[in-house]
Symmetry: C2
Subunit: 288 residues, 2 copies
């Protein structure tokens, strides 16, 4: 299968990300359908011409006519969905997903999957602090990373198709990582930062603080507005990697605390200079 | 003294903040002079009409003709400056500052100060990650807080003058706090967040990370680009309050870690919901 042949695309889970996929793809001329448990999401998407058609239940007709299916569901719901409805896939269908953790999802799904379809996992690293198809916007992909995380079970053809899908969606950067490397990276860059933001909001309940908040504190806690169902699931599914990163952070934070306690200004300044130099590496990408 | 009488203003320390004060005040019709050890800063500011005149040394003539003096220096330099050059103040001069910690500066300066001048401390909570008068911009005050931190030695007249100065500079909000409450608040909102950003940059040196960084991580580490001389001084001068906040953060972070380790999803979700609800309080101000 090649994207230039414009395969019929089905999106399962029409929320913020699923809706943004639909918007990007229908503008590129694909036939796009959707399945979502919320009838209003389907109605809205049809009315706004984000999808061609849809259903608020796992409609066998929609599933079997799709050639490429994108799962934009919570991890556990995604796994259950595959178990229950994979009988309706047509042979040769390519499946992909948007799940934010890979190791504990990818192998489970590939293991249980029919041998005549292929699941090629991907993680579009984009999002907003709002939910639902009503807030979807394909422009959130523009400066973001799209990561394909293939396993030994995947064919090169499906990997290339999935990478092409990332470019078609408008992502700034499409890359390939093993599920394990992906989860280690995401445990640090995304999950640890959410843990820190949540902790910052929970460790001081002085009522005066909001009156004096500046940009630094707002920036560090923006992601403390967190969907507790989704994120607790993501944390639990990446428990080992996240615990490792939390421990490393705690240790380094405690080192800094010790410098302060010991009046060790020289070592503190060295830690600050090191942080400043390393942070510059993370700036560059913005200006590329 | 009242601001409407347009007192002659001297700014000592013409960096980013001092320069931004100068720009704001000269536009409002004040006579503004400056003292800075960098001759280029003075030359630049005169050429750009940011100040009327200036000197690259503590010029007794400039000091004695000033009616209101703003010190925009590092804490220790500020204290030393007062000790060495206060002989040149004219009687009745009002002094203020921009120092980011108060307790360990304010009392020291007020204690050593001539009885015929008054020091009314203030903290303009604004900044950028760039330095120098060349980057100064009075618009950084527009959405920011200006906090006056008077002590028992201050007169109500000087406090009101200083609050008026904050409004004249264009700050969104002018308020009054004791030096101790100020330092406690700043230890949490500003210093703890800088500690976290520095730690995030120092606790994982994997070379791949910058390729996958998204907005969350960039937001949490923007302030890791830190002036090590200034911030180590600020940390050391607010050591007790900062240690207290670092301990509270560590404890709460460890609680979250423990929930993950114990697979205690219910408590984790409660912590997330609590953080989400509390973060909403910090949003409101932006929309006000």
């Amino acid at each position: 299968m090649k994207l230039e042949q414009k395969p019929r695309i089905l999106i399962v889970g029409l929320g913020l990300i699923g809706g943004s996929y639909a918007k990007a793809l229908i503008k590129k001329g694909y036939s796009v359908s959707a399945i979502d448990s919320r009838q209003e999401a389907i109605d809205y998407a049809i009315k706004e011409h984000i999808i061609d058609k849809g259903a608020a239940f796992p409609d066998p007709a929609l599933i079997s006519e799709a050639q490429l299916i994108v799962f934009a569901l919570y991890p556990k719901v995604f796994i259950d969905w595959i178990r229950e409805y994979q009988q309706h896939f047509s042979p040769g269908t390519v499946l992909t997903d948007v799940t934010g953790v890979k190791g504990s999802v990818v192998y489970t799904v590939q293991e249980m999957l029919r041998p005549d379809v292929e699941f090629i996992p991907a993680h579009p690293m984009a999002g907003r602090e709002v939910y639902g198809v009503e807030n979807s916007d394909e422009r959130i992909f523009r400066e973001a990373n799209y990561i394909v995380t293939p396993t030994e079970r995947n064919t090169e053809e499906a990997i290339l198709l999935c990478e092409e899908l990332g470019r078609e969606l408008g992502f700034a950067r499409v890359s390939r990582l093993s599920p394990e490397k992906h989860d280690d990276m995401i445990g640090f860059l995304s999950q640890l930062t959410h843990c820190i933001a949540v902790t910052l909001m929970n460790c001081n309940d002085s009522p005066q603080l909001q009156d004096y908040t500046g940009d630094s504190f707002r920036d560090l806690t923006r992601i403390a507005r967190i969907n507790d169902k989704m994120w607790s699931e993501l944390f639990m599914m990446n428990r080992e990697a996240l615990l490792k990163h939390m421990n490393a952070f705690s240790e380094s934070f405690n080192d800094l605390r010790q410098m302060l306690e010991n009046n060790d200004v020289d070592t503190m300044r060295e830690a600050m200079r090191n942080a400043t130099a390393r942070r510059a590496l993370f700036d560059k990408k913005v200006n590329e």
